[in-house]
Amino acid sequence: MKLLICDDDLIFAERVRDAAVPFFEAKNVPVECQVYGSAEELLAVPGLEQCQLALLDVDLVTANGIELGRILKQKNPHMLLVYVSAYLEFAPQGYTVSAFRYILKGDLRQMLPLCLEDAYQALYGAECALTVEFNRESRKIPYDDIYSLESEGRRVLVFGAEPHKPLCAYYAKLSELPAGLFANGFVRVGRSAVVNMRYIQRIANYKVRMRSGVELSVSRSSYAEVRGVYLEWKGRFGDA
């Protein structure tokens, strides 16, 4: 993992590095950490788009940390920005660049471990692909490519963006699907279908309408529960 730390107070930056690097190494994530004392120094480095996590001071002497974060986000929109500042007044600006967290320097000892744990979960939380045995070979289908899984006889059909045309079909039961699937935004809507909530357009009148245009029935007994699970998912991840 590529980690950037930028703070004009280099002693403080070293403290942050001494906390962050062992944290990720303890989780078997090799870390390539670089510490910079100014925004200019950091921006001169090639390959910033490879960076996954940046811990930045907001109140840099020669530049604004928020602007620096904006440039880094342009290079890699998936980069997690964590601002570490002595001043709370800059926090609102942090949200303009979708900062992952905003930590006060005074609270560093308490807050940094929580922040790093959340960053780890966001970056390496779980395997995001379904492994299936298809045509006598093992194949991984990314969760993001799956719209729904439907049982047909003894087979599970995996559907993607194209309606009524399965990506693949394999011998299994819906009840045997891995728990990781459900932890990653899938919900069972009836006896014969599991859907990816990311691609639900709406749930109404005991039917789930997918963004692909496909409609699936929701069992009456689980309708309220499915709506609740979908609402919770939208609240946590919708428009992310």
């Binding site: 529960e225 609402l231 939208k234 428009d239």
Partner: protein, 424 residues
Amino acid sequence: MHDHLWVSLSCAGEFIAALQIETAMLGRGKLPRWAAVLVLAPLWLLSQVLWGDYVPHSLQAVAFNTLRMLAATLLFGGSWLQKGSAVVICGVVLLSAENMFGGLIALLNGITIAELWERPTSVLLYGLTLNATLYGCKRLLRHWVAAIDPTQKALGMAYLSVIALLNVILATFSADSSRYNYLILICLMLVLATLAYFVLFTMFTVRAAQASQAEARMKNEQERADALMESYRTQRRLTHEFTNHMGAVSFYLERGDVEGARSYLAGVSKAVAAGAAVVDTRNPLLDAVLSKEYHKAGEAGVLLNFDLCDLSAFPLQNTELVTLFCNLLDNAIRAAAEADPPQVTLRIKKLDGEYLVSVRNRVADGVALAAGELPASTKAEPGHGMGLANVQSVLERHGGEYALSCRDGWFCFTGSVPERNGIF
């Protein structure tokens, strides 16, 4: 046979009265109430014909009717304790009514109670009066009875059981005599006095509880109003200071001392940092509320994270907005403060024509959630436990919905508020 018929007729009036009491106290069971009454009526009549040949007010009569009333409760709802209570209430009401009616009419006519019950008109009149009175009382008391607390109910039941026993004894001894009429009247006055006591006590209890809750709500609203007023005063003070700072900067610039002006501005910038809003949602009230909650979380050692969007068009009114976020975040911070690590996340996003509000907090212990019910309050003070109910009421008023969950050490509240449409 004639006597038997009149006893049965008398019992029919009391049967209807007993059903009135049991339906009111126990509610519907597996069968609808009308179906339960239709099933019970022939059974009651059959048992009366088969085993109804008893001496009124004898031990056999009391046991027989108690069993019948208990059997009837099986077709209604309620727990076994409630069924038992309903039978006791039936006994008290029926015996008291019979004694009161019999004693009063016998006294006025100068006859014994036994002679009175031999007259068909007396039996018919008794049945009608009893049921009409019960119906009236039921309608009058239905709002208050639900508010009686369990201890009061238990004490009341014990007291009513003693009165029932007293009525049985009095009725047994007074059946063939006129000397006990005054004693019966005294007993009935005691029953009336007791009922009046319960009615008044319940009324005062309900009013006291309502007053207490209203006071707690007023206190909460007052605290919030004070906080907003304080925020307003701070704003005015800052505006005043801002004017002074502008004057100072102008002074430096007029003298051509740019470095002095810059240095002055840097000092001012750091000085106002503590009072600054921690979020910028383009909704000033929401910024103030969330900043206040952020500082509150900090004082409680809780890490409060925000993930927000532009909320300038958030569709709630000011008071509703304060109710929603103060209640949700207060609850979340209180619960997270006891958890390890203490974390709360507030996320508000606009998606598909609605705003989604997600408040997640760590919890020390799992919270048991029943489908469709709000979790029970863990606080005993009046006013607590109303928070989520108020939140629910705000969301429902705007056509929103909500979901609660608690798993993996996180309690999660998610609510939706439809975007405001139309010309307003």
